[in-house]
């Protein structure tokens, strides 16, 4: 045997393995593709072999080729074959290949479910490990659903190696199958405290990833993480937790306060830079979230900034980079603290590392003020001159513009300076931001009216020097500036000193080399200029020159007609005709000539304003217009045009990737104005224009507070006027403005000092206000008429995948909420996952099945898979709403947690209740934990939960005599809390319950108030004689086993009843193979696993070690509930003794009386009254009895507890009770107590139910057995 194997391998020895392939490729550098093609052929051959070893080698080679970029998806099936090999070596190769090449679209993944399940359950640790690893890369929704439970099992594996991987992969499972999150979460949480650090770290990792997307749901875990943070020494875990806290603090300011101290300690103590850095980051996040309320608030900031400075000054570039990164976060909220380090940041601009320079640039953005803007921009421009690499230079340029234009030019005080800067920027070589500069020029000139003369003059200079700019005609190049220049000169020609000269400059033949959209603007504006020239000439009554101009146009415009650009051509043709017409009319006589100027000017009348960014969106849809309806029945193709982006103008046809200039202009962020503000602004502009054609006084609004500055303004105006003549007839220089500004400031210094003394502390901002803005920025934007001033909110299309994981984790698990399991199903699915998707899924399964059938190479696996799928299909039939399944894992666990209990009576609440209380406990714990910090500052905190009940109740007592209504409402809100509390109490100290509780609530007060309204008797101070109540009743008992049961219903499900049975092993042996069976009646049926007949037994999913109890839940579907149901059943089980095991059984009789179907829902007395008066409750019934207990309160308590009613109102000796069946029947009772006798009058719409319930009540009151 072995020999033949050797022989087989010997034959294969000369096959290429991976190393040979690599070597081959290296030796065939020049014709690699050809060589690889040959190899692929060989591989295909090898894959056809029977021998798995050969296949494995082939697949291994394919994996390598995949890395080189070859598609290997065609071999997916072979990969699966190799994956299914029993040998670890091959399995690993297969899984590696799968993880590299499979993805959600790989259809053969359908075949892998069962194989992966087998591997996950493998005895070999590494088989399972490799499978988990592979699965983490190619998990699909189907795989996640089908394997979730297997992975859950692995989470409790004894081997940390597997636990760790299983925990980690759960994140991927959640992403694909969000329904798994809630059932799996308790276990995941458990793993946070796993003894193995690797598992712990994995759990932290997963929860951090989850919490990052939906932090709110994980707030309740904060105390646990806090504990971990203070106890863990693993830096990886610490970093993750600290990062998580960073995400949580914005949601819970109290958390931040708690965190500050330990984090500061860590900052001081840790030597690990990574940890230090994350601590600082989180402290910053905390400081951002709580701006006030922390006493040593500034100290923390100082500490952070100081530590960051150390990082930035470090020689390690990485630390420097991160320091700057964190600094920029502080900048957002505490710019002052950062501004003190301006020197350091400016220094970083000189760093050789581009990333660092970028980061420093980001910081600069937030550091500018009116005072230092010029200085900073100057520095940046110097840098730009020195900078190598257009990329960085472009970034600098964009940054300068960003800095200056931020918040509507807030920091620009002198716009002449800014325009000069822009003009200087045009000298930057090879920039890609020509368009940006152009947009700024347009924006500034349009918004700042006063700057127009200056801007237009500068633009004229630019146009005259167009040849300097136009030699670089690349897209978005600097020539774009000419677009702005031409447009501005054309739009505001009145400000031109020499329009004729400009016109001539615009008609230079070189212009035809410019991009089409610029040429079109040229043509258009040439005519505008022409119109202006005529108008001016008419004013001076000299038409002689005009004629010349016209002729020049007629001569030169045709160069544009020959343009390749349609737009240019069309406009040029138009304009040539226009000029011809004008010339003709000028020829005729004086009158028409005069008129023609006006007519021509009328063509271009009107102001142009920037359009608001969302103007189009805001256009209200007229009534009766349905935008979705077709205008013409056959869908016309022209509808495409409507989809164009709002701002895309027809002027820019060539590169519409960025929209037009107007669009970009509009992008400048402008605070939205109310209509009043807008009209006000308009008015103001008009006034300003009228009074001050050239320079404006400082912005009235902004400098209103300091009129003292106005005196200086006069100065600045004078100086400005002086500066203009000094300008060489070329481009202006921004430096002169800076110098001017500086000199101005020194003059002001004296005044400032005086001010400082007056105001003291906050001098920085004072200084800023001192610098007046010389020009006013208009914020007028065109918005369509009737636009609604609403919702600029962008609906952000966040990742759907993560949204699905936004699941409330505190809410207790619903009974049906479990992972899909294949066996052991007892509790029915409460809510089928994705009910609508099921049918589709089924189809998919079918289709895939067909496909797989076609596959000739079908192996054992695939056949098995098919069987598997058929099974699954059955499972997912949506009709089987009450398809039974089991709370297996969770349930077992919770029950298992309970240390052995002496009797089932003392047993913990069943799992559902337990989780519920657990989580409320958690919530209270969390609140308690949170509020504990606030002890010193109670005013700030709003304690909820437990503390509240006590705090709030006291005043109620005071009011009691007075306002009853008030008591009513507050009592209502209290009630809920009390219920929770009650539940918990029940769970924890059942034996002492009533006594303890009585005391507890008395202390809480508010309940024994004279009003006695809406008080649940279960919360009343009960006489000491009251027995502890438990709804668990004995089901059956024999020598070896005892069964206690309780029924439960959910008001949401009218057709289902859950039977919770506590099995107690009375033997000293192991009891296993418990099978529970009930003879179904027509009305009541036990829900069994799918595919099981009505007489099959349901397997109880646990074994019972000696002396232990455990609880199993079984669901029954119920049709009618007006009659009590009696069922007969059997439990069979095996007792394992040393000498062998015996098979035993115990019979039992189950009774579901009508009270079992009642649920106690709160009902207000007003609702109760209206219910009674509605006339719906036609049936009446009365019952009289003498209760065992001679206390009315205890009797009431018993009715409420055992028969599931709620007290609506109680007065001396009588009470009204309300209850509702799960099918919605209302039952109203009036209970009267007279001389030891109780009379119950009942009203309901359902007579049979009523009388049965009354009979139940009688039993409850008169018998002791319960």
């Amino acid at each position: 045997m072995a020999l033949s194997k050797v022989k087989g391998t010997l034959e294969r020895v000369l096959d290429k393995n991976l190393q040979d392939l690599v070597r081959g490729i290296r030796n065939h550098k020049e014709n690699e593709t050809k060589y690889v093609a040959e190899c692929l052929d060989e591989i295909k051959n090898e894959l056809r072999q029977e021998n798995v070893a050969v296949k494995a080698i082939a697949v291994n080679k394919l994996t390598y080729l995949q890395m080189l970029g070859y598609d290997i998806s065609w071999a997916a099936f072979n990969v699966i074959e190799v994956m299914s090999s029993p040998k670890f070596t091959f399995k690993r190769i297969g899984y590696l290949s799968a993880s590299q090449s499979f993805h959600e679209g790989t259809d053969v993944l359908m075949l892998t479910t069962n194989m992966i399940r087998k591997d996950l359950g493998s005895q070999n640790l590494y088989d399972a490990g490799v499978a988990l690893n592979g699965l983490s890369c190619f998990i699909t929704a189907d795989l996640a659903r089908d394997l979730a439970n297997d992975i859950m099992t692995l989470m409790t594996s004894t081997k940390p190696y597997l636990r760790k991987k299983a925990v980690l992969i759960m994140y991927k499972v959640f992403l694909q199958f969000p329904e798994a999150l809630r059932p799996a979460f308790p276990r995941l949480k458990e793993k946070l405290e796993d003894p193995d650090p690797g598992v712990q770290s994995a759990a932290v990792n997963v929860i951090c990833e989850l919490a990052r997307k939906n932090p709110r749901n994980y707030l309740a875990l904060a105390p646990l993480f806090f504990k971990l943070m203070t106890s863990s020494t693993n830096n990886w875990v610490l970093i993750k937790i600290i990062k998580l806290f960073g995400a949580l603090t914005p949601l819970e300011p109290r958390l931040g306060k708690k965190l500050i101290e330990p984090l500061t300690n860590l900052i001081h103590s840790t030597s690990a830079m990574s940890l230090l850095y994350e601590c600082i980051n989180t402290v910053i996040a905390v400081l951002i979230s709580v701006s006030t309320g922390i006493p040593n608030h500034t100290a923390s900031i100082q500490l952070c900034v100081q530590k960051l400075r150390i990082l930035i000054e470090d020689s390690d570039q990485n630390l420097k980079y991160l320091g700057l990164l964190a600094m920029s976060k502080i900048l957002q909220t505490h710019p002052k603290s950062v501004q003190t380090h301006k020197d350091l940041i400016l220094q970083c601009l000189d760093d050789k590392d581009e990333s660092i320079r970028f980061r420093a640039l980001d910081l600069l953005y937030g550091m500018v003020s009116k005072k230092n803007l010029m200085e900073i921009v100057k520095k940046l421009m110097v840098h730009m001159d020195k900078a190598e690499g257009t990329n960085y230079r472009d970034e600098l340029l964009a940054k300068i513009i960003e800095i200056c234009s931020q918040s509507n030019y807030q920091y620009v005080t002198n716009f002449e300076w800014y325009v000069s800067v822009l003009v200087e920027l045009t000298r930057m070589e090879g920039t890609r931001h020509g368009r940006l500069i152009a947009a700024q020029m347009l924006d500034v000139a349009i918004r700042v009216q006063a700057i127009r003369p200056f801007a237009v003059a500068q633009m004229a200079v630019l146009l005259e020097n167009a040849h300097l700019l136009s030699n670089n005609s690349q897209r978005n190049g600097i020539c774009e500036v000419l677009y702005a220049a031409a447009w501005l000169c054309g739009e505001f020609p009145d400000h031109l000193t020499d329009p004729k000269g400009v016109l001539e400059a615009m008609l230079k033949p070189k212009i035809t080399l410019l991009p089409g959209h610029i040429q079109s603007v040229y043509v258009q504006n040439i005519i505008k200029l022409y119109a202006n020239i005529i108008k001016r000439a008419e004013g001076q009554n000299g038409l002689a020159g005009v004629r010349e101009v016209g002729e020049m146009l007629q001569e030169k415009l045709p160069i544009f007609i020959q343009s390749a650009d349609l737009e240019v051509q069309e406009r040029a043709c138009c304009m040539v005709q226009l000029v011809k017409y004008v010339l003709k009319s000028q020829d005729k006589d004086g009158d028409t000539a005069a008129a023609i100027a006006e007519e021509l000017a009328a063509l271009f009348a009107g102001d142009l304003n920037p359009v608001a960014p969302k103007a189009q969106k805001k256009v209200p849809v007229p009534e009766g217009l349905d935008l979705d309806a077709w205008i013409n029945d056959p869908p016309s193709e022209s509808s495409e045009d409507e989809d164009r982006p709002v701002g895309s103008s027809i002027f820019v046809t060539k590169d519409n990737n960025e929209g037009s200039f107007y669009h970009e202009t509009a992008k400048v962020k402008v605070p939205d104005m109310t209509p009043e503000e807008r009209t006000k602004a308009k008015e103001q502009r008009r006034v300003d224009q009228a009074h001050n054609p050239n320079y404006l006084k400082g912005d009235v609004k902004k400098s209103a507070s300091n009129t003292s500055a106005d005196g200086n303004l006069g100065n600045s105006v004078v100086e400005l006027d002086l500066s203009i003549p000094l300008r060489v007839p070329g481009l202006s220089s921004s430096d002169q403005y800076m110098k001017m500004e500086q000199s101005l400031r020194t003059k002001k210094a004296g005044k400032k000092k005086r001010k400082k003394r007056k105001k003291g502390g906050n001098d920085e901002s004072d200084e800023e206000e001192d610098i007046p803005q010389i020009h006013q920025v208009s914020t007028v934007e065109e918005v369509p008429e009737g636009a609604e001033a609403v919702s600029d909110k962008e609906e952000d299309g966040g990742d759907q995948r993560y949204k699905k994981l936004d699941i409330d984790l505190d809410e207790p698990l619903r009974p049906g909420e479990i992972l899909p399991v294949r066996t052991h199903r007892i509790v029915p699915d409460h809510k089928l996952p994705e009910p609508e998707e099921q049918p589709k899924e089924k189809k998919k399964h079918k289709k895939k099945e067909k496909e797989s059938k076609k596959d000739k190479k079908k192996s054992r696996d695939s056949r098995k898979e098919e069987r598997e799928k058929r099974k699954r299909k059955k499972q997912s039939i949506p009709g089987e709403a009450d398809e039974p399944s089991l709370l297996k894992e969770d349930h077992e666990e919770i029950a298992g947690d309970n240390t052995p209990l002496s009797s089932p009576r003392d047993k913990d609440m069943p799992s559902r209740g337990a989780t519920a209380t657990n989580s409320t406990d958690k919530m209270n714990d969390y609140e308690f934990w949170m509020s504990s910090t606030d002890a010193q500052s109670p005013a700030h905190s709003e304690p909820q939960g437990k503390p509240t009940t006590e705090v709030k109740v006291t005043p109620v007592q005071d009011i009691t005599s007075g306002d009853e209504a008030k008591v009513d409402t507050s009592a209502h809100s209290k009630k809920k809390k009390k219920e929770k509390k009650e539940k918990r109490e029940k769970k924890e100290k059942k034996s002492k319950k009533s006594k303890l509780k009585a005391g507890d609530y008395e202390e809480a007060g508010g309940i024994t108030t004279p009003s006695q309204e809406v008080v649940d008797p279960s919360q009343l101070e009960t006489p000491v004689t009251a027995k502890p109540m438990s709804s668990y009743r004995l089901l059956a008992e024999n020598a070896s086993i005892k069964m206690m049961y309780e029924t439960r219903v959910s008001p949401q499900r009218g057709d289902q009843l859950i039977l919770s049975v506590v099995f107690t092993n009375l033997t000293p042996h192991l009891v296993n193979n418990l099978e529970f069976n009930v003879m179904d009646t027509l009305n009541t049926k036990l829900s069994r696993g799918m595919g099981q007949a009505s007489h099959d037994a349901v397997q109880v999913p646990f074994v019972l070690p000696a002396g232990l109890s455990n609880e199993g839940q079984f669901a029954f579907s119920v049709d009618s509930l007006v009659q009590p149901t009696k069922l007969r059943g059997t439990l069979t089980y095996m007792v394992k003794m040393a000498e062998g095991s015996t098979h035993e059984k115990v019979d039992f009789r189950l009774t579901f009386n009508c009270s079992s179907f009642m649920s106690a829902l709160p009902c207000k007395s007003s609702e109760f009254a209206s219910l009674l008066s509605s006339g719906d409750l036609t049936e009446k019934s009365t019952m009289k009895c003498t209760p065992l207990e001679n206390s009315f309160d205890v009797s009431l308590l018993r009715i409420c507890f055992y028969n599931h009613f709620k007290v609506v109102e109680k007065v001396e000796g009588s009470a009204s009770l309300y209850g509702r069946s799960i099918q919605g029947h209302h039952l109203c009772l009036l209970v009267k107590y007279n001389n030891g006798e109780i009379t119950v009058d009942g009203k309901s719409a359902e007579g049979a139910l009523l009388s049965n319930v009354l009979a139940d009540i009688k039993t409850v009151l008169t018998s002791d057995v319960l």
């Binding site: 393995n17 690599v22 890395m67 670890f88 990886w236 990062k243 830079m273 050789k352």
Partner: protein, 190 residues
């Protein structure tokens, strides 16, 4: 989350590529090229973080890399990972390689890319950091190697002999990828 782990040499030849999110093969190649382009033009004494790969990531993503002799180790991660932590992880990865291959060099990665994958799988799983303790990682890898050997048994003996023979042909097996002493690592270490 880690989105991708790439190893390529000074000429941009991929030595290992591990994507934790699906990209078609041609896209993967483009990503490798782009990343190489971004990374290779940086000096050795600049910081190890990069923003702005256009193909992979987005604003939330960073490229974190280390350059060892002839190889670049590049991790593309989102903001949930600590930058310095990932740098350490790269160091752990390389040191593990060094231990497993006994003085690792580029040739080891060239000829045993599968083994490198197996090692990586012990560090990172599905884009999440699995283990950072080097002793633990190496124990696991050695156990798996043992398992592999035991499975191969006698049947693989001839194959081993042949591969040993082939192995000898590798022209001057240069051990050129020595781990440089990185002083900055000292204080980053956990």
């Amino acid at each position: 989350m880690i989105k991708a782990i790439l190893v390529f040499n000074n000429h941009g030849k991929p030595r290992l590529s591990r994507f934790y999110q699906y990209y078609p093969e041609d896209m993967q190649q483009q990503i490798v090229r782009e990343t190489f382009h971004l990374v290779s033009k940086r000096d050795d004494n600049v910081c190890n973080f990069l923003e702005g790969g256009t193909l992979i990531g987005g604003s939330d993503f960073k490229i974190i890399y280390r350059h060892y002799a002839t190889l670049y180790f590049v991790f593309c991660v989102d903001s949930s990972e600590s930058e310095l932590g990932i740098l350490d992880l790269i160091q752990v990865f390389v040191e593990t390689l060094d231990k497993c291959f006994e003085n690792v060099c580029e040739l080891d990665l060239i000829f045993h890319v599968d083994k490198v994958h197996y090692i990586l799988a012990e560090l990172v799983m599905g884009g999440m950091v699995l283990e950072t303790n080097m002793t633990e990682i190496i124990t696991r890898i050695e156990e798996q190697n043992k398992l592999e050997k035991s499975e191969a048994g006698i049947a693989a003996a001839p194959a081993r002999a042949v591969s040993a023979l082939k192995e000898m042909n590798i022209p001057q097996k240069v051990k050129d990828m020595k781990l440089p002493d990185l002083p900055s690592i000292g204080n980053l270490k956990f």
